[in-house]
Symmetry: C2
Subunit: 180 residues, 2 copies
């Protein structure tokens, strides 16, 4: 994405962290990760995050979704001796609509971003408000979307190997690039 898009998204992300009373260091603020998944449609499909720690055993992140923004359908699969990522999402601010493989919910509250419906499955719906959480085990396809206020979500997980996340949409590149 363009540097300008990145910087605007970074500033907006910090506003959401402030609303959620999440305190960050200056280094963390300067290095917010903005993932547009290579789709160039950040407003609708994207995720903003700060990784607090990612060792070879444990990872913790703080994530921001802008109002109505979707993190697209993907799963964390095993590779080599690694079992695949297990993650717990805990909502801190706003509302998150989370969809995980399982019995489809008949009237889901969120819709996939327009034009990309073919890459999203109507899974079981979990709605997370502040203080509510959900564990996502490996090999569980999932996607999630913020409600109209946006959302701040803590993630507690095993090691993140984001580059190996498997997205349903073949056009997605998980690791962001910034063009100056």
């Amino acid at each position: 994405m363009k540097r300008e898009v990145y910087e605007q998204a970074r500033a907006r992300t910090l506003e959401f962290f402030e609303k959620a009373h999440i305190v960050l260091t200056e280094t963390e603020k300067a290095n917010v990760e903005v993932a547009d998944f290579g789709l160039n449609d950040l407003e609708n499909t994207g995720l903003q995050l700060v990784t607090y720690v990612n060792t070879d055993r444990v990872c913790a992140k703080e994530m921001v979704l802008f109002p109505g923004q979707t993190c697209p359908e993907h799963e964390h699969v095993p590779f080599g001796n690694w079992e695949g990522k297990e993650e717990t999402f805990r909502c801190r601010y706003g509302t998150v609509y989370l969809y995980v493989s399982g019995e489809p919910s008949p009237t889901p509250k969120a819709q996939p971003p327009k034009g990309s419906e073919q890459y999203y499955t109507v899974f079981h719906e979990i709605v997370l408000h502040p203080g509510e959480q959900y564990i996502i085990y490996p090999c569980t396809k999932h996607w999630f979307q913020a409600g109209p206020q946006g959302a701040v979500v803590s993630e507690f997980s095993t090691t993140s190997h984001d580059e190996f996340d498997q997205f349903t949409d073949p056009n997605i590149q998980r690791l962001p690039t910034i063009e100056d």
Copy 2:
């Protein structure tokens, strides 16, 4: 500890979570863990916590220390096939003085609780303010104390087996009991 002591500490813990803007469910609020380490001196030696998640791979907790309260010296050792707990402390509110094995700091800001000095080592000092964090690896003796405002600290870790924590003070019982 007596039920009355527990309930007072629980209510006080919730005040600190409010100051730190940490949102908890009613179930979490009702089940705050108050650890007095069997020493019956909670004001000086103790720890209050809410465990968000503790699976066989990942654990996340939110901890409260009252002003000047100390979590006593201990370490997380391997057993069986388990490597021992790795934990990251991230300060959310107040100040934490953390002491970990390593070159002793010449003028530590915190002192062990009176009468228990023999169970504390003058380790390397790390001072954590909101947004600051530190990783503690297995087999690292450590203890920590809140500054005068108290402290709220997030812990991101591998699985917790609190019952196997090894405390320097042989009088300590990690798992709390409540007498009605």
